[in-house]
Symmetry: C2
Subunit: 255 residues, 2 copies
């Protein structure tokens, strides 16, 4: 069977014991040889961070035919780097990250460790997909996501993705279908919840509320999810703002 030769790396940011990655592993195993390299503890909101000041390590959890599992002390991006450059004998054909417990729409892609891992994969020219589902519960029933995830994996295995592009897939509960779209322009409005630690010191838990900055646009992930669809956003990290470059050049302040 041709598919059995496909090498699939699975990771996430909720940690190797999260429910979401278990579902994703089960799906991945339908399509090829699966290697899991995932954080040994929750790594939510780790963005694209890597571990530089301390060493990282990994540990073999399972070793079966066509299936291996490793937990790693680093971030999701560390997991991808360590897997690709150290653990795997060859470059994987596919990287699957998730299923994240909670959506990563709009600006959340910037903070998301799930998408950090997928973007890192795409920087290495590996077809990469991040999956997030609208349920934060540790024992969330993600079974409704399975047919959608399978359809996307099959499409990407067959047709590929543009160079350097990953998919950011967000699945609300029991979606009506799925739609390719762009991510909404939005921001988080922070609120810190203060508490006292056992030593009497004031500490702060980060919390916040998402603000959709273009609620009238009908082509965004936020709009479509609110309408009950799963969103698929082609994602590429780009930090150059070419319009501003032109605008600032007019100032002639710099040589």
């Amino acid at each position: 069977m041709k598919e059995k030769k496909t090498l699939i790396l699975v990771t996430n940011d909720d940690g190797i014991e999260a429910h979401g990655i278990r579902i994703l592993i089960d799906i991945a195993r339908l399509y090829g040889e699966v290697i899991v390299v995932a954080p040994d503890s929750p790594q939510s909101a780790k963005s694209h961070s890597i571990t530089q000041n301390i060493p990282i390590s990994f540990r073999e959890i399972k070793l079966e035919n066509q299936y291996r599992e490793y937990s790693c002390s680093g971030t999701p991006v560390d997991c991808v780097k360590l897997a690709v450059h150290e653990i795997l004998e060859r470059k994987p054909d596919l990287i699957l990250s998730g299923i994240n417990h909670g959506l990563n729409t709009s600006i959340s892609v910037l903070y998301s460790g799930t998408m950090g891992a997928a973007i890192e994969g795409s920087l290495n020219s590996i077809r990469s997909i991040g999956f997030s589902a609208e349920n934060y519960l540790p024992d969330a029933d993600f079974s409704y996501t399975v047919p959608y995830i399978k359809k996307i994996i099959e499409d990407v295995m067959q047709n590929g993705l543009p160079e350097g592009v990953s998919l950011n897939v967000n699945i609300p509960e029991n979606p009506k279908g799925m739609v390719l779209c762009r991510s909404a322009h939005g921001k988080w409005k922070e609120k810190f919840i203060d508490a006292k630690n056992p030593h009497g010191r004031k500490v702060f838990w980060i919390s916040g509320k998402f603000i959709d900055l273009e609620p009238d646009s009908e082509d965004t992930d936020i709009f479509l999810i609110n309408k009950g669809y799963a969103s698929i956003v082609p994602t590429k990290a780009n930090f150059n703002d070419i319009d501003s470059l032109k605008e600032l050049k007019f100032r002639k302040l710099y040589q």
Copy 2:
């Protein structure tokens, strides 16, 4: 004096005791009231990560007229969020991040905590600038950077920045001048250096080599820095890849 009312937040990713932030603080104090909220330990390569699973805290280090200093247990982005939403009485007029010990050109902007803080500022519509200098030594002589940093701060205070845009400033040693440009398309080729920890366990230190993927382009930060100029890149985080959206729509695989 009008300038004295300007409120400037200074942060970094090398930690509050780093040499680079001390230089930046001294410069900032020439232009207004300065509040420093910086990580209490080195936070290099923390990207846009925030601390979600544990609480963060901050501690007052100095309290002087027109000058306060706080160390924070979180990441650079945590520092900006905590400063803006919890510590400061009003929104700062300017955020300065750095001076980072080491350049943050090309794709390094994605991993950089220095630029994570600046980008977070710009998401809050605050004029934000990240400074990085080409010297990794803890006691680097950054005095050559001072006139360049002053010129950029004065320009931004006077003329502002486009909405949502921060500046990524990289200064090689003794530059010939500074140039507005875009960041180069590049990538890091990882290499892990393995070692044994004192308990005999194999651990890995991340290392790597930068690869410029467009060495012939003459309008990139990498090219200009190699020619001896400081680079100023207008920076905005954009993860939507609109070209791919059009390409993938043709597949008609999704509704």
